[in-house]
Amino acid sequence: MTDIWNGLTRAFELIVTFDPEVMAIAWLSLRIAFSSVLIAAIISLPLGALIHFHSFPGKRLLISVIQTFYSVPTVTVGLFIFVMFSRSGPLGGFGLLFTPAVMVIGQVLLVMPILLGLTISALSGIDRSITDTARSLGASGWQNVLVVMKEARFAVMAAVILGFGRAISEVGLALMVGGNIKGFTRVITTAISLETGKGDIELSMALGIILIIIALIINLILNRVQQRR
């Protein structure tokens, strides 16, 4: 119990004093998760729409595969990225291993299936009567697509929130390809992993609390955006 109480007070201290190291770690966590989700969204939302609005052989199978990748272990993606971006790997020439950039690349891979799959289900969830109405009012194919996308935007936003949650909370990938380098690739989750290993339970608790606060704030903001209808 003292651990928990000390963790809470330490978290409070670190937050109100704007402890520079903790702030830098939290800020990097935020930046990496935001960039990943943003890039993943830019790719996945149109791609999801493309898949939804076209029928082609193997579509069901493709969707099943995408859904399977919702639960791909972060360390598996980490291993793949490590092998690809290691200096002796095929993409080693970019010199990106153990940098924040490669962490973003990995998280994009991690988040994309979720955004893709949930975008498809969001679009599928739109009542057919809406498209029928639009068409009867003389909407062209593209206008029709826009109508459906607009109707599905809240469900898509929920997918983005979920993707953000996956990105900011994962540790396996960040540790494997980021390397938890102090002041460079150390994010909240990898810092917690290190500090717990070193026995600094209070600092770990504090960092965990900060992570939860960040998640809470992000969700509040996104929910506000959602509710302004």
């Binding site: 290691s86 200096r87 950039a101 935007r153 026995g199």
Partner: protein, 315 residues
Amino acid sequence: MFKGKGNLARILGIIIMVVALFSVLPGCTGEATPTASVSPTVSVSPSPTDVPPLTATPRFRIATTTSLYDTGLWGYLEPLFEEEYNVELDILYTGSGQALEYGRRGDVDAITVHDKPNELKFVSENYGVERVPFAYNYFLIVGPESDPAGIKGMTPEDALRTLYESATATFVSRGDLSGTHSMEKRLWASAGYDYATQIEGAGDWYVEAGSGMGPTLQMADQKAGYTLTDMGTFIAFQSDLALVPIVDEGDILLNVYSVIAINPAKVTTAKNLAMANNLIAFLTSAEIQELIGKYGVAEYGLQLFVPCAGNEPGT
């Protein structure tokens, strides 16, 4: 419907803001290509709209055994090295086995490790230029004060034999190909056992943690078991643990830390031998050797590392 449009515009606005924010901020850059000579930071005369030059210093990456990291030694030395050579030092902490693997792949340009047989192999295979010892201490077997297996004061080999035969007292192994794990295997071999067939999976008493020295010590502490640890990490963690030294006598327990530059002639992806040589010069310099010897003495009242500037201790 029209309200929805405003909503979309708002989201778009947020996205644009975020993108703008990220493009201005430093970070997410790859490692800078090393320059031939280390020159002082170029100062650009600031104009009102200028963002200050943020990533002018090159980065240099090394991998270290966890014990030099968990004890805080690298955290202490890092700013000194960075200042002296005007470089951003990126330190990966991992077991010696993985550090050697990072070296073989060229993902780092130098390593600080403590696994002599594997280091000699690494150098003889030309992955490393040269093995340069820079500090040492000793391994020790720690355990609960009650010493349930009654191994206190034994030789390391006798202690292990007793643990094996009783098969009741828990022994937590690193189990991660680290230098400490490598040492443990040598101890078992010296005690007359074949590690792969007799020790691994020997029973519930033999626990393979698969993690760093700190977490392994904590696991041994929680399980009231024994473990083999390097002295530095144990001293640094001792205040959080109920474990005490049980076996700490024997020449076989010598623990030597060395620094190895990765050889670009063999590992073509290694990029910065010049800085790796700077690191070796740094670690073996009189000034830094003195700091290594003093490190932690004020805090723990005990010497964590004995400097040995390029010489093999005991020779």
